[in-house]
């Protein structure tokens, strides 16, 4: 973990409520896809955890949805503005377990962290299939970015206004044979993927956090191997340890 100052280079809307922010700063602690950063915003007490969309050579890209006062404030920030950021948080995904044909499944704001994962897997020569689930056509983002990496992309929307109508699990057959499952999204989606997936896999969870680095026990969850902290021992849990509680 490292605390450092990042400078906003770009901050643009991708959809009506999803924004992309590109920052420059020290990305050296971001070592795996699926990690997150924790951002201090003026006038707000708790830092805002945002998953890393991409990080390379001092350029950090975040894609975030406006869900509350913090992200709303972020969306109003101009290039040149500086932010106090904790980097290198969370365990992230393990790319070494992907096998030849990994399947990546993201829903809504669960899509962004899969990008850096797909990038590394494509670079490693995997045959990557990505399923992206959204509510409606106007919510779709990042499809082309994944395609540009060389991944095969299937999109579902709940109302059928783009791609296949329904949920991400509805296109598992179309996705074909796969060797490992990586997923990120709202808990009901993760659960559906968990049940539909025929392989082992890694699932990234969300929880309200206090600190984001393992100190406060604010985001604990039970696993088959004891209590874990989503922020420090997660956010990625392997399929074999997950306990569905709610």
């Amino acid at each position: 973990m490292k605390q450092s100052i990042f400078i906003i280079k770009e901050n643009i809307a991708l959809t009506h409520d999803v924004w992309k922010m590109v920052l420059e700063g020290d990305t050296s602690e971001i070592t795996r896809p699926g990690q997150f950063v924790n951002i201090l915003l003026d006038g707000l007490y708790l830092r805002r955890p945002i998953s890393v969309h991409d990080a390379e050579d001092g350029v950090l890209t975040l894609i975030y949805k406006i869900v509350g006062v913090g992200t709303a404030r972020m969306s109003e920030m101009k290039p040149g503005h500086s932010l106090d950021v904790l980097t290198g948080l969370g365990n992230g995904y393990d790319v070494t377990r992907a096998g030849a044909r990994p399947l990546l499944i993201g829903g809504g704001v669960g899509v962004p962290p899969l990008y850096m994962l797909a990038k590394q897997l494509c670079a490693a020569g995997c045959e990557v299939t990505v399923i992206l689930g959204f509510r409606s056509a106007r919510d779709v983002f990042c499809k082309e970015a994944f395609e540009a990496l060389g991944a095969r992309v299937l999109v579902t929307t709940e109302d059928g206004t783009y791609g296949t109508r329904g949920f991400v699990t509805g296109v598992f057959d179309e996705a074909g044979d796969y060797t490992y499952t990586y997923s990120c999204g709202p808990e009901p989606m993760l659960r559906a993927v968990y049940n539909a997936s025929g392989t082992s896999g890694e699932y990234s969870f969300e929880e309200r956090m206090g600190c984001g680095f393992g100190a406060c026990m604010g985001c604990s969850c039970k696993t088959l191997y004891g209590n874990k902290r989503i922020c420090k021992d997660g956010p990625v849990l392997v399929k074999e340890e997950i306990v569905w509680e709610k």
Binding site: M1, Q3, L40, L44, Y45, L46, R47, L86, E207, R208, M209, G210, C211, F213, G214, A215, C216, M217, G218, C219, S220, C221, K222, N227, K232, E245
Partner: protein, 308 residues
């Protein structure tokens, strides 16, 4: 370094401390998480995560809610239980922290407070027992002991009989008269009091129209509670003879000095560690300059200076 050490030094219940800065229980784990960030031996001491007899998962999530200048938590005393704390956590703590540590003890019965306190009292690494009779986030224990003078007195008396180390009792602010409770625990043999634990608060999720925390209510901490904490430290320090450990929203070297002027012998830092993991280091490093600014030669000399 020698001179700086002297300026900041205080003594808490007979144990000398290089400085009065103590990360508060529940915001610093068992220390080793923070040892990767800085040398935690620079701290006065720290108070480790509240320990109960049995392992506890604590409350369901969400356990955290943001507030203006503060936060609610309803962790609910998650901890691995006293056996595991002694077997696994204290050795890991010892590897990175060589000073006497403050052992925070919680419980749901007199028996449990007695057993956990005496077990931790026997550990060489433990310098003080901090008896938490004020946790707002568990039912049927914790705060229930600390909001009534007679029950506070009886639990302190019972634990007093079984521990040899200095016994500091952590008090709840959710009472009509914290002075009355402080006097009762002093009469029962406490060597010190620490205050305040969190203020009981709540937030509601406008979308779901339900309490934001799974536990409904939570403990409010952060800068927002500082004025209430300072008032209570001032009142209690004026009413008891035992030392007072001040806490509640302390976020800066200036806040530390304000707490000590009110009557605190040492100062715990809680929520600020969660926003800035280096907060206690930063505060210790800032203290000498801030002391100079206000003409303070020694922190020990200003304890209670604002008292009438």
């Amino acid at each position: 370094m020698g001179e700086v050490t002297n300026k900041l030094a205080v003594s808490l219940c007979g144990i000398d401390m290089d400085n009065p800065i103590i990360p508060a229980s529940g915001t610093f784990g068992y220390g080793y998480e923070f040892a990767d960030l800085y040398d935690i031996n620079m701290l006065g001491t720290f108070s480790f995560k509240g320990t109960t007899r049995q392992p506890r998962f604590g409350n369901a999530t969400p356990r955290i809610a943001e507030c203006p200048s503060g936060m609610l938590n309803a962790v609910g005393l998650q901890n691995p239980g006293v056996d595991a704390v002694i077997a696994h956590e204290l050795p890991k703590m010892r590897a990175v922290f060589t000073k006497p540590v403050m052992a925070n003890v919680s419980g749901f019965s007199l028996d449990e407070y007695i057993e956990v306190s005496s077990r931790l009292d026997a550990e060489d690494s433990v310098g003080w027992i901090e008896l938490n009779i004020s946790c707002p986030n568990v039912h049927g224990g914790g705060m229930a002991f600390g909001t009534c003078a007679s029950s506070a007195e009886s639990v302190v008396r019972a634990v007093r009989d079984v521990v040899k180390k200095p016994l500091i009792v952590k008090l709840s602010p959710n009472v009509t008269s914290i002075v009355e409770i402080a006097k009762a625990v002093e009469a029962a043999g406490a060597d010190g009091v620490s205050l305040i634990n969190t203020l009981l608060g709540m937030r509601i999720d406008l979308r779901r129209r339900k309490p934001l925390l799974a536990n409904v209510t939570g403990g409010y901490s952060g800068a927002a509670v500082f004025p209430v904490a300072l008032r209570m430290v001032y009142q209690v320090a004026g009413a008891v003879k035992i030392p007072v450990v001040g806490m509640g929203g302390v976020s800066s070297a200036e806040d530390v000095i304000e707490m000590m002027l009110a009557g605190a012998t040492a100062v715990e830092i809680g929520a600020e560690n969660l926003r800035n993991p280096w907060a206690c280091r930063d505060i210790i490093q800032a203290l000498p300059d801030v002391m100079d600014k206000y003409g303070i030669d020694s922190l020990a000399s200003i304890i209670g200076a604002a008292q009438p």
